[in-house]
Symmetry: C3
């Protein structure tokens, strides 16, 4: 944890570098000091088939779902979500300047009692620090 | 909001036009008057690797997860879910006539306190109406 | 139900046979006698764009989310989750021997009041048994 899943309409690929977006959001999550760096997993999934709003061919979307472990306060979660949507809005400013773009973010907490993890990145990062 | 995510086994692609299915379900969501048109995002993701039930090669699935904002009554949600599964059942009637198909739908509510949206489609649709 | 969704970084494809992993986990779910065989749907989605931890190029992940129907006890869910993560750990032992791998599993219960299913596999499996 945390997991950030980005779903988006394929028509924005010429305009947004998705690998770069993943890296930028990963950097932000790591820099927040709220989450263990070794657990950060950001990934992006283009949808080839989709239907948005009035089905205008220029309509596009990016939807982010951040799944985090328990333990942060409501204020921490609210502030971090706001920071994340602000960052993505900045990166997508050209898309947001046009009347065809829907951006969204949701934060969901993972039930600690019904989740499991095995992570070999944590020890490497700890031994490096 | 709302978000409708369709996951399906790739083996139904010759039989169901996924772009058309996205448009048809998008139309239904828009026509329900329960959701703002500008927020409707339907998308479909084929799974190339999958394993269904007894692993018969003709086994296939479509799984729909509809994430909606808070504010609808339980009855509204129940009725709308029923209408949606009825519509998809109609579209998939050939698949449902064979003993190899699993169709499912779930509705999940998004926490208004931990979700964010920036949408430039809404103002365009409002100015057009 | 149940639904097992596997998300993973594309860089593990040369090392893990995803179709085989789906089948192995499907077999385990079927053999547990906790779930109806005809409802088992395992599927895997590679992420082409991703960012993991310190962004080391060898970093990789597999994230499993198991959505199940209501009706199992907390102990049943805990034990089954543990068995599943143990099995995947065994399959991924080479990846886990290196300091670049993050494996995770979460179990989520589906709301029976807001879910629907139409399944033509169940009757076939029942008539065969």
């Amino acid at each position: 944890m945390p997991h950030l899943v980005i779903q988006y309409s394929e028509n924005i690929e010429p305009r947004i570098d998705m690998k770069q977006l993943c890296d930028q959001l990963g950097d932000t999550i790591c820099a927040s000091d709220m989450f263990p760096k070794g657990g950060v997993r950001v990934r992006a999934y283009p949808a080839a088939a989709y239907s948005i709003a009035d089905q205008h061919p220029q309509n596009a979307f990016i939807d982010l779902v951040l799944r985090i472990g328990a333990g942060r306060t409501q204020d921490q979660k609210r502030n971090f979500g706001q920071a994340l949507i602000d960052q993505v809005s900045e990166i997508c400013q050209d898309l947001l300047a046009e009347p065809h773009f829907a951006l969204s973010l949701e934060i969901i907490e993972i039930d600690p009692d019904l989740s499991w993890k095995v992570n070999t990145i944590h020890p490497r990062l700890k031994s490096n620090s």
